[in-house]
Amino acid sequence: MNPIKNLNKVFENRIRLGLMSALMVNDSINFNEVKELLQITDGNLASHCKGLEEAGYIKVQKGFIGRKTNTIYTATKAGEKAFKLHIDALEQMINNSK
């Protein structure tokens, strides 16, 4: 089987890959933490999050802390599974080419 088929298009982008990586090791992350981690602008982050959300890989919860909006991201079960498959595929491809 060709492992290239298991590479997930959604994770091809560095920002989406980074956000998903962070969500794998944290229960949840809020908007500002993601921004600091990936060092990107608000609009850029929002559009990438939408991509992951539409794929069903992350859950976005909008809430308030006082008057400030607080957006929290968590990975879904489907997202975790898809991400693991993606990493496995990456590893396999590297091993195959050795």
């Binding site: 560095r14 990586s21 962070a22 944290n26 600091e36 990936l38 990493i87 590297i94 080419s97």
Partner: protein
């Protein structure tokens, strides 16, 4: 194909980096360790002078005072607070903390990671639990006059705090923690030499650890 392979490598590296950066506080500077170690050695030097000056050490005299007054079965905390050894320990602790904070602050600027984020919060909580529990317990030991176990206790609880914290910062902290625990336990068999064990653990180990970490993580990034 090798180009693509390189890209996969970079992606895996990126994943690892993002996982670490989002879950561990990595701005802890080696220089913080060196500074804390120097503070501890200076503190230990002054403390040692005081111990040597009085034929019976100040803490011992409190203990005797305690025994002489059978009506007073506990040392009053006020009396101990006024004790010069306690003052030195307190000043040393504050100085070490301030210097470590300073160097870590400078490093966090360099790595452009926030000093106060979810990772540093998690680190602080996990350091604090063994430290506060240990602190209360050691205060109780002082109150009951078991001064011999103070120095070993400091090392043991500090070591436990480091081992606990190592999951939330650079993993090498774990080994510093193990060393402190072993030293603290050894010290409980050589109770008269607390000040030397204290100087080795908080002074020399910190300095060696700091130099090692600075060499490993910070020198190359300059």
């Amino acid at each position: 194909m090798s180009n693509l392979n390189q890209e996969h490598h970079q992606n895996l590296h990126h994943i690892k980096q993002m996982m670490e950066r989002s879950s561990r506080f990595i701005s802890l500077s080696g220089l913080s360790g060196v500074a804390a170690g120097i503070c501890a050695l200076v503190g230990a030097f002054f403390a040692n002078n005081i111990i040597n000056k009085s034929s019976i050490s100040s803490i011992r005299s409190i203990e005797n005072y305690n025994m002489d007054n059978s009506k007073v079965d506990k040392i009053s905390m006020e009396h101990f607070m006024g004790n010069s050894l306690f003052q030195i320990a307190f000043i040393t602790f504050i100085a070490a903390l301030s210097f470590s904070f300073l160097f870590t602050y400078l490093r966090s600027k360099k790595t452009s990671t926030p000093l106060w984020g979810s990772t540093s919060k998690r680190l602080l909580i996990n350091v604090s639990i063994p430290m506060i529990v240990g602190g209360i317990y050691l205060m109780k030991l002082i109150e009951f006059g078991v001064v011999d176990l103070i120095a070993p206790g400091c090392l043991i609880f500090y070591g436990l705090a480091l081992v606990n914290a190592s999951k939330f910062t650079l993993t090498e902290v774990k080994y510093l923690g193990y060393l402190q625990i072993v030293l603290g336990i050894l010290n409980s068999w050589f109770v008269g030499y607390g000040i030397y064990f204290w100087a080795i653990g908080f002074g020399i180990f910190h300095i060696l650890y700091g130099i090692y970490m600075w060499n490993k993580y910070e020198r190359s990034s300059k």
